[in-house]
């Protein structure tokens, strides 16, 4: 349970970090953020990076800001920062509701929002949030900065669009309209475990009808994503048990459920059906 030997670099600025990452990426260099996923993997020697670019001393990456349209979350913003609403907007409340479901308190004090996206565990809450709300991700490298849409970013189990030498510096989430309703539900064996399925439902309630519906599912497929079949069932309808059940069924049918030794695809679909309906019930 001791990691293989590595060299740790401690840059003080984003530029310096990007430069070092550019230099060591080819020799199995990795960014170290909160370490709550990377360090356990290294302890099991499932990852043996020769270099770690530790970004924990880069003050500029700890910033969070909002320009009235977007919430910008820097690479060092920890899960615990979201325990209370970070902006006076439905988005702030949504993030607070989701944050509490992630792991346990000590892990939330260290783990970062961006680290969670870069790690791309299919079950991660922040990945589900990013996919559901169509987040924009900003990657920096010595070649410059580029933005990536969430739907293009997640490419499978622990696989993303980031190049080896790219550092995810920021994620941008759109602020939500005041009439936004949301609901989140997670299923795990024990409190604090990774989700076996999770759903996030976000829509506007206009004239008693659901519009601008975003219905995301995580933990069921290799990457979280919006489920258009379920969104179509909901759009234009009044919230209610029958339509929620129909949407849940549509989502359960639409997912290409992952299987493992213990968990059949059928069971995973059962969970999707349950978490989608419960997220919708909570939103109403």
């Amino acid at each position: 349970m001791k990691p293989a030997p590595f060299i740790r670099h401690v840059p003080k600025t984003l530029d310096e970090a990007v430069r070092i990452l550019g230099a060591v990426a080819a020799e199995e260099g990795r960014v170290l953020a909160g370490g709550q996923s990377l360090v356990p993997i290294m302890a099991f020697r499932l990852a043996k990076p020769a270099h770690l670019v530790d970004i924990n001393e880069i003050a500029e990456l700890g910033r969070m800001s909002n320009d009235g349209k977007m919430l910008r979350i820097g690479a060092l913003v920890r899960h615990a920062a979201f325990h209370k609403p970070v902006v006076d907007n439905p988005l702030g409340h949504l993030l607070a509701a989701v944050a509490r479901a992630i792991a346990h308190y000590p892990i939330r004090l260290r783990g970062t929002f961006c680290g969670s996206l870069a790690h791309a565990d299919p079950s991660a809450e922040w990945c589900l949030v990013a996919a559901t709300l169509d987040a924009t991700l900003v990657a920096h490298s010595t070649r410059g900065a580029r933005t990536i849409a969430a739907r293009d970013f997640f490419q499978g189990i622990m696989t993303t669009a980031l190049a080896e030498d790219e550092l995810l510096a920021e994620v941008r989430l759109p602020l939500l309209a005041p009439d936004t309703r949301f609901g989140f539900n997670k299923f795990s064996r024990r409190a604090g475990d990774f989700a076996m399925s999770a759903a996030l439902a976000v829509y506007r309630l206009q004239d008693g009808k659901m519009t601008d519906v975003h219905l995301g599912v995580g933990g069921a497929e290799p990457s979280p994503r919006r489920i258009p079949e379920a969104e179509a069932v909901l759009a234009g309808q009044a919230p209610g048990d029958t339509v929620f059940r129909a949407a849940a069924e549509a989502a359960a049918q639409a997912v290409e459920a992952m299987e493992d030794h213990q968990t059949s695809a059928d069971y995973r679909r059962d969970l999707v059906r349950a978490v989608v309906r419960r997220a919708l019930e909570q939103s109403a």
Binding site: F187, R190, Q262, Y267, A274
Partner: protein
């Protein structure tokens, strides 16, 4: 601590544990705290079965393999009965590997990190052969053979059939059957195993400090395997962070450490990590239990038929052997029930999986699970409630000889059932249950009544045919000249609080407060030979020996006091640290008596010098008992189970310290809940283990264990000098059965049964999903499946 007030007994009081101040302030002393000159890392087999072709080690690395250990004997415990086929486990795999995690080589380096780096670079070339993983599949004629010496993979087989069984069976009014499956578990002590062996140049002796429950037997066994004088080996069990049985079996790793220390005259340490512990630190519970009960027209069980298949893993654990699970299952299956006829076949089956060893409850959690399911199924078949079926069948006269031949001493089977049934208010629960059902919520209640054989001495181990019969205990009590008392014990507590409870027993005998008494254990140089702590034995056997020794010292103190105070011994009381003549102000401090006994022995004719006495105890055993009740809610959409309430009515005879007794029950129930719902070691078909970290192997957390409502009954045991019975394992024995019965009760209207533990949400959903249509009692709109 305040001194004892007059006439008040220390026994029976919830005094705080004397061991806790050090533990909770980080001043405990554990094996892993010791520094060593050399660190050892084991290279373990990545495959379940195969022939070792090559062990490729980096140049200049120190790598020990079986080739270095020609002079060391393999671990090969014996059982003289039940058609036992001996198997030998080499300290490091010798040409053949038999389970994933088996130690193949040992890397030695200056630091733990370095040892792990080198181990990572060792390349094993193993020719894989076919592996067999499942205990039932291993019985097939064409199954791969794990050991050449065990044809058909059956390492041990017990059978029992009472005279007249067939006639009784033929009288059955109704036959009720259960096919129970208990998957595999790991005891998961907070501290994994670990050892530290150091050579002393002056004496030539080796000291092995290790996380063990049986220090003396480790000394005996390791000295024998290595071929050294037993007196040249000292074994220390310092603070041990939980054992639950996992730390009573001999670890091959410890043998290697002692061999290294002796060979290279230095110190060598190994700290097991969690992954090693989960894959190779001994497993438990892997059984198929098939039961058929013959009931008469009054729902009275008249005969029980059982088939037990216990998957014992790749080797036979020392000292209890691979017989422990199947044979204990066979002997104790009849439990607290009154029936005369019993037929049983119990097989231990070797497979290419980690060796099975005792774990808190040993077999009886599976026994109770099967038998309590049988009772609930019988209740349903006869249209009785679950309390009534038990009331009709529980033993109510004592002593009672079970259908296997065990003698049950005085107990309170029906009374504990009645206490919980009253506390839970069954009719009120049924009303709440049907209201909840109308709203699509599924509550269930489950009872489990059981007895727990505890504190059994040598005779039980003889009956099992064990070559080693770890039954008796010795305790040496001495009073030094400052008036302090030392009780040196052969038991080896590792969390049970014996330093406190034994001190309470001594305190009452000698009239001093418990904090004046030091209980010394876990060091073979200091403690008398004994068998350690396991099998809910220590308070009964070591506590009994303590009482016997303390009484001898008491008698001597009274004799000395009688000389000095010029009064008859029966007119003298020992209290508040002095000997007093009743009704007078004449007294003498116990410290003075001790001083006299040592330095002025010439004055006391007929009294041996010194103030040390030995107590020895080897009791026949006593059965404690309990009834557990669980109320659960099953989320039928996800299969998730939440335990709403848990009740225990427990009878362990005289309770020495109620707080400690409650703690034992709480911890046991928590582990039982893990057993029922969460914990499962999973292998794939090739024998690769899929639950090698605590992300995949799921012990219950504080949020999974509800508050436990405890009730105590007290039926003192005639088979125990302290009148106390053991209670270390009961929590784990009853809880799985109560929880699984409650789940089945919640699902009864769906017509599905869950007879598999852990009852994971996947398994519960699979049962519900396979229903062709939702229950007629409620439709999909009310939360149907």
């Amino acid at each position: 601590m305040s001194t004892q007030s007059k006439g008040m007994s220390w026994v029976g009081r919830s005094i705080r544990r004397l061991e806790d101040p050090a533990l909770v302030t980080g001043r405990g002393y554990f094996t892993g705290d010791l520094a060593a000159a050399h660190w050892v890392r084991f290279v373990r087999s990545p495959v379940a079965a195969g022939r070792i072709v090559k062990i490729g080690a980096p140049e200049s690395a120190m790598v020990i393999t079986a080739a270095n250990l020609a002079s060391v004997k393999p671990i090969a415990p014996l059982l003289h009965k039940f058609n036992y086929k001996p198997v030998a486990q080499p300290i490091l795999a010798d040409g053949v590997v038999r389970f994933v995690g088996e130690p193949v080589a040992a890397v030695v380096a200056a630091s733990e990190q370095e040892a792990e780096d080198i181990a990572d670079a060792v390349v094993l070339t193993i020719d894989e052969t076919a592996a067999i993983v499942d205990g039932r599949a291993a019985l097939a004629a064409d199954a791969p053979q794990v050991h050449a010496t065990v044809p058909g993979n059956v390492i041990v087989e017990g059978a029992h059939k009472t005279d007249g069984f067939d006639a009784a069976w033929a009288r059955a009014h109704r036959i009720v059957t259960v096919e129970a499956r208990s998957h595999r578990q790991n005891a998961t002590p907070m501290e994994p195993r670990g050892g530290h062996a150091a050579y002393d140049a002056a004496s030539g002796r080796i000291t092995l400090t290790c996380a063990t429950q049986m220090p003396h037997l480790m000394r005996t066994a390791i000295a024998d395997l290595i071929g050294m004088a037993e007196s040249d080996l000292r074994v220390i069990a310092p603070d041990v962070g939980g054992g639950f049985g996992q730390k009573m079996s001999l670890a091959a790793e410890y043998v290697l450490l002692v061999w290294l220390a002796r060979q290279y005259k230095s110190s060598f340490a190994w700290r097991e990590d969690r992954r090693e512990n989960l894959i190779a630190g001994f497993h438990a519970r892997d059984q198929y239990l098939t039961l058929a009960g013959a009931f008469d027209a009054d729902a009275k069980l008249i005969a029980l038929k059982a088939d037990i298949i216990a998957n014992v893993g790749a080797y036979s654990c020392f000292p209890t052997t691979a017989g422990i699970e199947p044979l204990m299952a066979m002997a104790e299956l009849p439990g607290p029930y009154d029936f005369r006829h019993y037929e049983c076949r119990a097989r231990g089956v070797v497979t290419n999986t980690c060796t099975i060893a005792p774990y808190r409850g040993v077999s009886r959690p599976v026994n109770a699970f099967g038998l309590e399911r049988l009772m609930d199924k019988a209740a349903a078949a006869f249209g009785l409630d679950v309390v009534e079926i038990r009331r009709r069948n529980l033993v109510d006269r004592f002593p009672y000889t079970t259908a296997y031949g065990l003698e049950l001493d005085e107990a309170s089977y029906r009374q504990t059932l009645d206490v919980v049934a009253k506390a839970i208010d069954l009719p009120a629960f049924r009303a709440r249950q049907s209201e909840a059902r109308a709203q699509g919520r599924h509550l269930g209640i489950g009872f489990a009544t059981f007895c727990e054989r505890t504190g059994y001495g040598t005779a039980t181990f003889v009956e099992r045919g064990m070559a080693i019969t770890p039954g008796w205990e010795t305790v040496v009590v001495s009073v030094d000249q400052s008036g302090l008392v030392e009780a040196r014990i052969g038991a080896s507590p590792h969390g049970q609080g014996l330093r406190t409870t034994l001190a309470q027993i001594v305190a009452d005998e000698l009239g001093i407060s418990p904090d004046m008494i030091k209980v010394v254990h876990g060091d073979t140089d200091r403690a008398p030979y004994g068998w350690g702590t396991f099998a809910s034995r220590s308070l009964v056997i070591s506590g009994g020996a303590t009482l016997i020794a303390a009484r001898k010292v008491r008698t001597k103190l009274l004799k000395l006091a009688s000389h000095i105070l010029e009064a008859a011994p029966h007119d003298i009381v020992l209290e508040d640290g002095t000997a007093k003549v009743i009704g007078t102000d004449r007294s003498v401090p116990i410290a003075t008596l001790a001083h006299e006994a040592h330095t002025q022995s010439h004055l006391y004719d007929g009294i041996e010098p010194g103030l040390t006495d030995e107590g020895f105890y080897d009791p026949p055993g006593t059965f404690s008992n309990a009834c557990h009740v669980a109320i659960v809610e099953v989320d039928i959409e996800t299969g998730q189970v939440k335990i709403e309430k848990f009740l225990v009515a427990e009878d362990a005879g005289r309770i020495i310290n109620p707080m400690i007794a409650d703690g034992q029950v709480h911890g046991g129930v928590a582990q039982g809940i893990g057993n029922a719902l969460l914990e499962e070691i999973i292998y794939d078909d090739t024998g690769t283990i899929l639950t090698a970290s605590l992300a995949d192997y799921l012990p219950p957390t504080a949020r999974d264990v509800p508050e436990i409502d405890m009730h105590h009954l007290t039926t003192p045991s005639p088979n125990s000098v302290t009148e106390a019975k053991g209670l270390g394992e009961g929590g784990t024995i009853g809880a799985p059965a109560a929880v699984i019965n409650a789940i089945n009760d919640a699902l009864v209207a769906f017509g599905v049964t869950i007879d598999e533990i852990p009852a994971t949400p996947q398994r519960i959903r699979a049962a519900l999903r396979n229903l062709s249509s939702p229950s007629p009692l409620w439709g999909a709109e009310k939360g149907g499946v």
